[in-house]
Amino acid sequence: MTKPLAAIINLNTNNILSIRRALEFVGFRTEIISENTNIDKFDMIVLPGVGAFNCAMQRLEETSLIKFVNESLNKEKYFMGICLGMQLLFSESPEFKKTKGLSFFSEKIENFNKFNVNKKTFIGWNQVKFNKNFFIEDEDFLNFNEKYFYFVHSYFVDCKNQKYEYGTSFNGTKEFVSVVKRSNVIAFQFHPEKSGLTGLNLLKASTKNFFS
């Protein structure tokens, strides 16, 4: 069986090699995409994050990668957003200047510095409370629920108990969304590619459908 092929969207500001290595470890072939390309040959599209929201949106537009992203979302391709790549799926962010996002989810991104949090930039390990239904197999819930994952962010998605919230975490007393899922789109606020073996196993568990 040929290995599934993942497209990794290159925004020039993200940790491309780290995500590539992790996906290859899990069993994907990978291709870095820097401009609009035919999406048909890809099994999964990955939008990794690192960088500022407004710069990333600008880059998506300048390179017409935004067409690639929107087409994959419209065609219900398997799609994975990571960190900023999750935030870009939302409608708007105030990072540096108010910028419109991809609006796949309707919520807005918010800044930690308006809230009672431990650190306005959260860098480090944090627990994730998962919704059981996130996983393809029930037993995986126990393997990942309340485990530590690696987060780096100053902005976040507020919890509204929407049906697409599949995982939440805390910064101080502020609870925020750390996992979202809607049809074939999943996204993490944390970096599964940098969360040790737990992270690699989560990538495996979230993409089991490609390997059965």
Binding site: S18, V50, F53, K119, W125, Y148, K194
Partner: protein, 279 residues
Amino acid sequence: MIKRIIARIDIKNNFLVKGMHLEGLRILGYPEFFSKKYFEEDIDEIIFQDVVASLYKRNQLSEITSKVSKDVFVPLIVGGGIRSIKDIENSLINGADRVSINTGGVNNKKFIKEAVNIFGSSTINITIETLNINGNYKVFTDSGRTETNIDTFEWVKEVEDYGVGEIILTSINNEGTGKGYDLKLFEKISNKLSIPLLAHGGARNPDDVYKLLNDTNVDGAVIASAFHFNYFKELYEKKKIEQTGSTNFLNFSEKKNFSINIKDLKKYLINKKIDIRSL
């Protein structure tokens, strides 16, 4: 807040090196063997620092981090010789998850602001090397070689205002000596900051790390010599290091009990109720 245990790997000419007070560097071996071992031992993060990059105006860690990222799936912070936006892009393409700026930022403050604007706060760390001279903490650049007139307490506030995500602070007085962390320094600075502070310089045993994490508000303990000394023998015996390592260090570390095992350290801290990542 979960505290982090971070290994620091200093690199010169593709080798892991270690000195004292950032001077007298000796080769201990290949950085990729040490970093792989640290990952297997559940390290939380690894800093790769090219200690001659600023001096020679170059940056050659890409090859190493690119190799390391095949085996190491925790965050890599890359520092040394970062002085342009291109340098940062290049680091991120080659396996870095965050970058750390020292000399390039002291010499060009606009560069710090620009980097934060493009890559976001959380990608940009500032490394500060400080030397206590008669009670005044002065900022040094070029890996401790060049003294500036900048006061460390003022500099941390200034870079925080520029929007950087985190600060890695090295106490040159304690670095490589194993005499414990400069707790007063780290307490004072961590209380001033609303961004994370990582403390580096002086850890000899698990209790040094416990005191740092218990007595101050730092977010992480950065450890170099004590980890290297602990794993050096094993890597040496496996002939992974072969002729490249300097065995003089072994005698030194054994005599002074200068050694920390990562898993034992984590157990020790958990027993003492320090909030760290457990698996």
